[in-house]
Structure formats: C-alpha cells, structure tokens
C-alpha cells in the first residue's frame, strides 16, 4: 500500500503533463456524472426536514376500480379513505395524512401588504414524521386538527414578510380572509423536499379541501406517508396495508368501487419513477436505464483516459520489465498498476465531486428547476442536501469503474509484456 502511494505520487510528479490532463479529464468526467446523480439524489436523500426518507413509504395516490369493468380512478384519496388505509398502522412507527398538492393562499396582517404563499394542509402527525426546525413556537397537534383550530406554522421567509421577524409565534393574521394564529415558525424548506414543502401549513380540517371528494367520497385531495421503525419493516407494512385495503373494500362495497394497491405504499425512489398514478413504478427498468446512461457517461472518458494510461505504461515499460525480473508476479503487477491509477483517479474523483457540489450549490435554480411543479418558488439547495454519504459513495464507485475501464486493458497488456523486451524497451 505504502509502495503504491509512493509510486502514485512519483507518477504524479514525473509525468506532469499527463498527470494534469489525466486528472482534469477524470475530474470533469466525475463532475459531469455526479451532477446527473445529484439531480436524482436530492429527491431521495435524507436531510432536514425529510431526514426519515429512508424509513418512509408513500401513498401519494390510490387506485379504485369497478370490478369486471374497465372503469378505474387513480389519484389522491379522501381524508377518510387515507385514514382507513394508512392511519395508525400496527407495523409502522407512525403515519401522516396531508394534502396531495399545494394551494396558493393569501396572507395579510392589518396595515400590511398581502403575501401570496404556498399552503399545505396537514394532520397533527405530520410534525412528528418530518423534522422541521422550529425557530419559534411549536407545531400544532392532532387535537388542534380534530378541533379545526385556526392555527398555522409558517416558514421564516413568510414570517419576515408578514411580521418582519421570525419571532412570530402567537401573532395573528388573515389566511384567505379567515383569522389564524401562528403556532410556530420553521426554517425555510427547499422545494426539493417536495412532499412537505410549503410556506404555510394549517390543519387539514380548517380548509374546504377536506370536503373536496368524488367517487362516493373515496377519492379526494390527500396523500399518506408511513414512517417505518426500520426499512426492514416495509414488507410487513405493505402486508398490513393490503389487509387494511381488503377490510375497507368490504365497507365500501355498496359504492361498487374497490381499492387496488398497485404495490403501494412506495419508497421515495419508486415515487420518483412512477410517472402516472395508474401504473405501478418499474424500478428495475429505471435502474437498468440509469446504469446504461452512467456507463455511457463513463465509457467515453474511459476510452480517452485509457490512451493516456497506455502512454504512461509505455513510458514505464523498462520499469515494468525490471520489476518482473526481480520477482513481481503478473497479478501483483496488475494490482499495483491498477492501485496506483486508482489513487490518481480517486484524487481526481474527489476534485470532480467537490466541483459538482460547488456547481450544484451555485447553479441550483438552473439545475433543479422542475418542468412541472406545484410551486413557483425557485429550488434552493444546502450543502447538507448535496454532501450526502450516498452521493459520495456513488462518486467513489464511479472512480472505481472509470479506473477499471481506463486502466484494465493497458495494465493487463503491460503485465503480459515479455520481460526481456520490456527491459530493452523494444
């Protein structure tokens, strides 16, 4: 290992031009691919207030069918259906029900200018599932929701716009012409935490959205998120959800509609893959397609880097011959060359990764802006969102694959070189 490090450093020093070009090429390749990875990772990675994402299962939509007919309906559920299907699950830690989409609300204070804000209606458990950072006050609980209390949690930007301060707990304001009291103020949420993003959150019982139902009160405007004690419990939770669905279907039999699961509730990655509520997400195909894209993104620079590695090997031909003469096995040589190049690749990969984080941070609006979005708010990212162990692992993984692709053939050829010819540089 020490020898590999030393040799890698010696290589960096002795072939400066190749080193600079090689490191730059590798860094740019890793940068490019990491930007692609980050585009997806920010939507599935855990960070406040979605730190529990790896333990979450999502039922954004539900599906109902009329048996033995082609009739079906797919979309958000009514509050009642969401409660029956996903409320108080025995196998889960907890679950929350909230509006499937944001609504635009107008907020005013006496003497102030109206403020337009994205509003999300939620139950009380919402605040236990998501880990918002409260700057003042506290969340509303289920008792307040059941009592339809006009209380609200607002984000710090909205608090500043309305009250000029984040210390706004207890202050009163008008929300769509109804009086509300600020229960708490939370740190701003990125639009990339799309499932819980809003500027103002109010009990779901205080807006007309709860009455917006159709198809015999089964469908409506709500989604559910289930928080598991551990991701190992996902299968058990889905089984319980299926049992719940069968039981609920018996109670709604007279409506002629029957719920079908389509594999719900989904993981966050499945939610991202699922384009339509009436089609079960095909994670396998999605992952395969991504793998193909990544491989293409890696193969192109790997071919270029392979040429440089070959050139480096040619310059080291004599050394390779001498090492072999003194007892270096082919396999040892292969590992040594691979290891040395891996170290250089990892150094370049770290540079590329850091570049991608910097780029994503500086150009977040351009990079993460969605074609279709619930909100007009521009996406913002924090370093916490971008510097994820998973993205770091991806970067290292790509370095390894890139190294394997770019060094594999030249190193293998070098290890097969005739020793005498190598020593004599023939």
């Amino acid at each position: 290992m020490r020898e590999m490090m030393r040799q890698a450093m010696a290589q960096l020093r002795s072939q400066r031009m190749l080193t600079v070009v090689g490191i730059t090429g590798t860094a740019l390749s890793i940068f490019l691919i990491m930007v692609v990875v980050m585009l997806q990772q920010v939507k599935v990675a855990p960070y406040a207030p979605v730190s529990n994402r790896p333990r979450m299962l999502y039922a954004q939509y539900a599906s109902i069918v009329v048996e033995n007919t082609p009739y079906q309906s797919n979309g958000p559920m009514s509050y009642e259906s969401a409660k029956e299907l996903y409320g108080n699950l025995e196998t889960a830690e907890r679950s929350t029900i909230f509006a499937s989409y944001l609504t635009v609300a107008t907020m005013t204070v006496p003497g102030g200018r109206p403020v337009s804000a994205d509003m999300l209606t939620t139950d009380g458990e919402f605040w236990n599932v998501y880990d918002f950072t409260f700057l003042s006050g506290k969340p509303y609980d289920q008792t307040a929701v059941d009592a339809a209390q006009h209380v609200a949690v607002i984000d710090e930007s909205t608090a500043r716009r309305l009250f000029g301060s984040t210390d706004a707990a207890g202050r009163e304001f008008q929300l769509n012409h109804s009086p509300y009291t600020v229960a708490g103020v939370v740190r701003d949420v990125s639009t990339l935490a799309e499932e819980c993003f809003a500027h103002v959150w109010v009990p779901l019982t205080t807006t007309p959205l709860i009455n917006n139902t159709w198809n015999s009160y089964l469908m409506g405007s709500f989604s559910a998120v289930v928080l598991a004690k551990s991701s190992d419990d996902f299968a058990a939770i889905r089984e319980e959800c299926d049992r719940r669905m069968r039981a609920y279907n018996k109670t709604v039999k007279e409506s002629n509609w029957q719920f079908i699961s389509r594999g719900r509730p989904y993981t966050k990655e499945e939610v991202l893959v699922g384009q339509w509520a009436n089609v079960e997400p095909d994670l396998k195909t999605y992952r395969r397609d991504r793998l193909i894209v990544f491989l293409i993104l890696l193969i192109v620079p790997a071919i270029n880097l392979s040429g440089m590695t070959e050139s480096r090997m040619r310059q080291r031909r004599e050394e390779i011959g001498v090492r072999r003469a003194f007892g270096c096995k082919r396999s040892t040589l292969l590992m040594q060359l691979f290891g040395e190049n891996l170290m250089i690749t990892v150094v370049a990969g770290l540079i590329g990764w850091a570049l991608s984080v910097g780029f994503a941070y500086l150009f977040s609006t351009m990079l993460f802006l969605e074609g279709y979005s619930n909100t007009l708010t521009m996406p913002k990212v924090s370093l916490e969102m971008l510097v994820q162990p998973s993205t770091f692992a991806w970067a290292l993984g790509f370095c390894f694959v890139l190294n394997l692709l770019s060094t594999g053939v030249p190193a293998w050829r070098a290890s097969r070189t005739n020793i005498v010819n190598a020593i004599n540089k023939k």
Binding site: A10, R13, F326, G327, C328, R330, S331, I419, I423
Partner: protein
C-alpha cells in the same frame, strides 16, 4: 551437480518471415560459488543465454535447471517467486527506477517476497547500501548519481534478497575504467566473501581473465 545446468538448450526467434537461431544446443554447467565469464562477439547469443539462465526467457528446446530444480512448465507465479529468491540481476544500463530514490530501488525486490515487513525491508536495504558504500546517497534519485554509483546501487538491489546467483550483463559496459574496476572489485568480493555464484557477460578480456572460467560463444554455439 552444478547450481546452473543448461542441457541441450536452443533458442530460435521466429517472425512471420525469418527464423533466427540465437543459441544452438548449448550445454553449460556452472558450479556453486563459481565466477564465470561469457564472452563472444556481438550477436553471438551471450545475452540470450543470460536471459534464459535468469528465467526471463524460455528456451525453444532443452532444459534449464537452477539449484537442481527444473524450471520447465513453471507457472508465472512460481517462476517469479523462484527468480526473486534465487537470482539477482545487474544490467549494463543499470535499469534503476528513476521515480524512486536509491533506498526504494534497493528495497524493490523485497516487495515481492512474502512475509518481509516494511521495517525489515528498509533495514536490509540500508545494510546492503552500507556494504556498497552508498549509505550516504540513499535518499538521492538515480539521476543524481554517477554511473559507477548507479551500478553499485544496482548491485545492492541484486544482492538485497540474498540470492545465490548473480547474473551480470556487461556490468562495466557503460562505465569508465576506474568505475569499472570498482564494480568488478565489488563483484569479486561478493563471489569470494559471500560465495555467490556469478555469471557475467563481458567483452572485456582483462576482466574475464580475472574470473574462474570463460565460456565463449560464436554464432549461437558454445566454442569453449
């Protein structure tokens, strides 16, 4: 039984168009502790013979036995380990690794020997550098040394693993007479004091006469 035995060894280099006979039916026995010179005009097969004895190249026909072990059919792994433990090489152009310092160059053969720890490698390398009088240059790069010093480093590298056989291919060919004499003196010390077997290819009659035996080649055939 010699420590090096070549039995009816031939070597033919083939290309698509020509076939070149480099060695023809060579039989050589070299005893343990012997200092043997191999002489002959350029292109007569001296270096080919040394490469075959050094297990760097395989004969087209015939057998090579080193210390009683036949090397025919050995795997790359076994052959590498065998070379590492039994043979040390000194080349005309030194072939030191330019990116490594003297100490690292000398340690290199021990990297490929199983069970030698880093501290032990360094201790052994320093000991042989002391012996060849270059301990004060151990952190220098080869480019910072004279030709004679480079060859002494190469000799240190050849003996660090304590091999029984040293194969030297024109070790003084790139040196002036004074440095050449120093290198020859070192090789004789290794032969006399350590009892190492040395096989040296040379064009220098004077140096050859100082060795125990001269084997002469002409056009791939052993003539003496």
């Amino acid at each position: 039984m010699g420590i090096i035995e070549l039995k009816e060894v031939s070597k033919i280099y083939r290309t698509d168009e020509v076939e070149t006979l480099a060695l023809e039916n060579v039989n050589v026995d070299i005893d343990k502790g012997e200092f043997v010179s191999i002489m002959g005009p350029s292109g007569c097969g001296k270096s080919t013979l040394l490469n075959i004895v050094g297990l760097l190249d395989a004969p087209t026909t015939g057998r090579v036995l080193i210390d009683g072990t036949t090397t025919e059919g050995m795997s790359d792994s076994a052959l590498s380990a065998f070379r590492n433990s039994k043979l040390g090489f000194v080349f005309q152009s030194f072939h030191l690794i330019g990116s490594l310092n003297v100490l690292d160059n000398v340690e290199m053969p021990l990297l490929y020997r199983h069970g030698v720890k880093g501290s032990e490698r360094t201790r052994m390398a320093k000991a042989v550098l002391e012996r060849v009088g270059l301990s004060h240059r151990m952190y220098h790069r080869p480019a910072q040394l004279s030709g004679g010093q480079c060859q002494r480093v190469a000799i240190a590298r050849a003996i660090v693993g304590n091999p029984e056989i040293i194969l030297a291919d024109e070790p003084t060919g790139n040196l002036d007479s004074r440095m050449g004499a120093e290198v020859m003196q070192l090789l004789h010390e290794l032969n006399k004091e350590d009892g190492r077997t040395i096989v040296m290819v040379t064009h220098n009659d004077e140096q050859a006469r100082m060795t125990d035996r001269i084997v002469r080649f002409f056009d791939g055939r052993q003539v003496q």
